[in-house]
């Protein structure tokens, strides 16, 4: 017995050695830069002061500047529209596909798997692909919409401030559907089929079985897919930056684009740091909400 305890403590110490390199890496390349970013956000840092050894602390001035920046309310609104809109469509379509592909039929697994490719393709490649699909003159989407008589003549999707945000949303929904489908499908496979059989015997129709059984049993998966979806969508930068650059006239500028431009276009580094911290605050609110909801869920299981 004594020997066992001794070898365990020795084992524990070896355990830390395995973790140490990754831990040091995370401290140096993530935690330190984030702390550095926090300090930056309270300092006056622009092109002129960047190289100075000491910088003036200006309290919350950078945050005030960002929030009173005329682009801030626009980009916040765009971020919220972009995120909720994308999630609504990705989730609904993803759930429908997950239900379909979870029925056992030949090829179901292969077809479902092949759709995941949209997740792996670089977002910049998706950007130029959708610039082409949404092109005003010869774009395929306009062609389709006019054929179906939804529109009279071609829309210049990405160069019109009224439609630019909808255009980037379309591209992102396309990327995100398989992700939603995949997580929800793995949730569906965890539901034992005999539950449905019992319900069918009791005379419950397909719609009642879906609302009464599938949705409640799928709750944990739904919660996780919505939380991750919100975070991944809210932080999207490259896709939009390469598609529209946030334009025209900020009509597709979301918070990450604003933050990046403050730093690397206007060289207001202090304000750029403040803007990314505001972005992080939003993400932490979402994560906390998820943790609270998930904790509530637990006792019921």
């Amino acid at each position: 017995m004594k020997i066992k305890i001794k070898s365990l403590t020795k084992g524990e110490r070896v355990g830390y050695l395995y973790i140490l390199p990754a831990f040091i890496y995370i401290v140096l390349v993530m935690i330190y830069p984030l702390a550095f970013n926090l300090i930056l956000s309270f300092q006056e840092v622009d092109m002129m002061t960047l190289m100075k050894p000491t910088k003036a602390f200006i309290g919350l001035e950078n945050y005030r500047q960002v929030i009173t920046n005329l682009t801030f309310p626009i980009s916040l609104k765009n971020s919220l529209i972009f995120t909720t809109g994308c999630i609504f469509f990705q989730f609904t379509i993803g759930l429908a596909f997950a239900l379909l592909f979870s029925l056992s039929f030949p090829l179901a697994g292969h077809l479902r798997g092949s759709l995941l490719i949209t997740l792996m393709v670089p977002q910049v490649a998706v950007s130029i692909l959708f610039r082409w699909l949404l092109s005003g003159d010869y774009g395929l989407i306009n062609e389709l919409l006019t054929k179906l008589h939804f529109i009279e003549e071609g829309i210049a999707w990405l160069s019109d401030p009224k439609t630019a945000l909808a255009g980037v949303m379309l591209a992102n929904i396309w990327i995100g559907i398989p992700f939603n489908m995949m997580i929800l499908a793995s949730g569906l496979t965890a539901i034992p089929p005999d539950i449905y059989e019992a319900a069918a015997v009791d005379g419950a129709g397909p719609l009642r079985r879906f609302i009464g059984l599938t949705l409640p049993l799928l709750r944990p998966s739904i919660l996780i897919v919505l939380t991750l979806g919100f975070i991944y969508t809210f932080r999207i930068f490259g896709l939009i930056y390469a598609m529209t650059g946030g334009g025209p006239i900020n009509s597709s500028t979301v918070l990450p684009i604003l933050a990046y431009k403050l730093s690397f276009l206007f060289f207001e580094f202090g304000q750029g740091a403040a803007a990314t911290n505001i972005l992080l605050i939003f993400l932490f609110i979402i994560i906390s909400a998820y943790l609270i909801l998930a904790a509530k869920e637990e006792p019921r299981e």
């Binding site: 930056l40 997740l119 130029i128 010869y138």
Partner: protein
Amino acid sequence: MRKNKDMLLIFTGISIAIVLLFPFYWMFVTSIKPSAEIITKPPLLIPRNPTLESYSIAFTEGSIGRYLQNSFIIASFTTMITITLGVLAAYGLARFRIKGLTFFISILLISQLLPDVSLVLPLFIIFNRLGLLNTYLSVILANVMLWLPFAILILRPYFLMFPKALEDAARIDGCTFLGAFRRVILPLALPAIMVSSILTFLFAWGEFVFALTFLTKAELRPITIGIYNAIGQYGIKYNDLMAYAVVAIAPIIIIFIFLQKYIRSGLVIGGIKG
């Protein structure tokens, strides 16, 4: 009856796949059309005079070969460092009683959710001071940070699955901890290592914002920046642009087709999108 239902389901499933994957087909056919055929009304679903001209433009005028090489270097080193650190940490977290295990796992989960935009500014300033801007290393270091938590989180469940008895047996046979790790655990964990390597490589291949910001010299830039610059260079010559895109995603499509099984299992465990 059962057969008819199957046929209907297969038909629906295939239609969905065709619609969702159609943009890739469109990318490809546009890239082999001569300029006159990309501005026809209605658009040609099948090119009349297919040509590889756009590809020869991409390879001769642009430095696409160089971009591909840079992407390959960045993605390979990112993968090697990520997997080395990730395997060790995942093994440590799965095998030993670590004080603060939940704390460490929470850090990993949260860092997986960090926006890349929130790291790009501080890293830019830090790398600038260290003289690392305009080196592959700057982008590699940042990429590893982005994917290391993910790699650890998808590797750990595999290590948890192995019976500890296996490792104990190796140790009784005279292997040291490290010896047992190398001879018994690593070979068994190979599928898991494959999964995380493939995903890390693919994600690093598609990385955009760090390369955009840290690399200002054209000869160091990866293919994602090549595509981005091509927008300015070729404007609305979409056949040339699509040829560029096809070349950029070809390695990814090939990896995806051959290693789909691994990719799917990794994505489900890691719950992530690129």
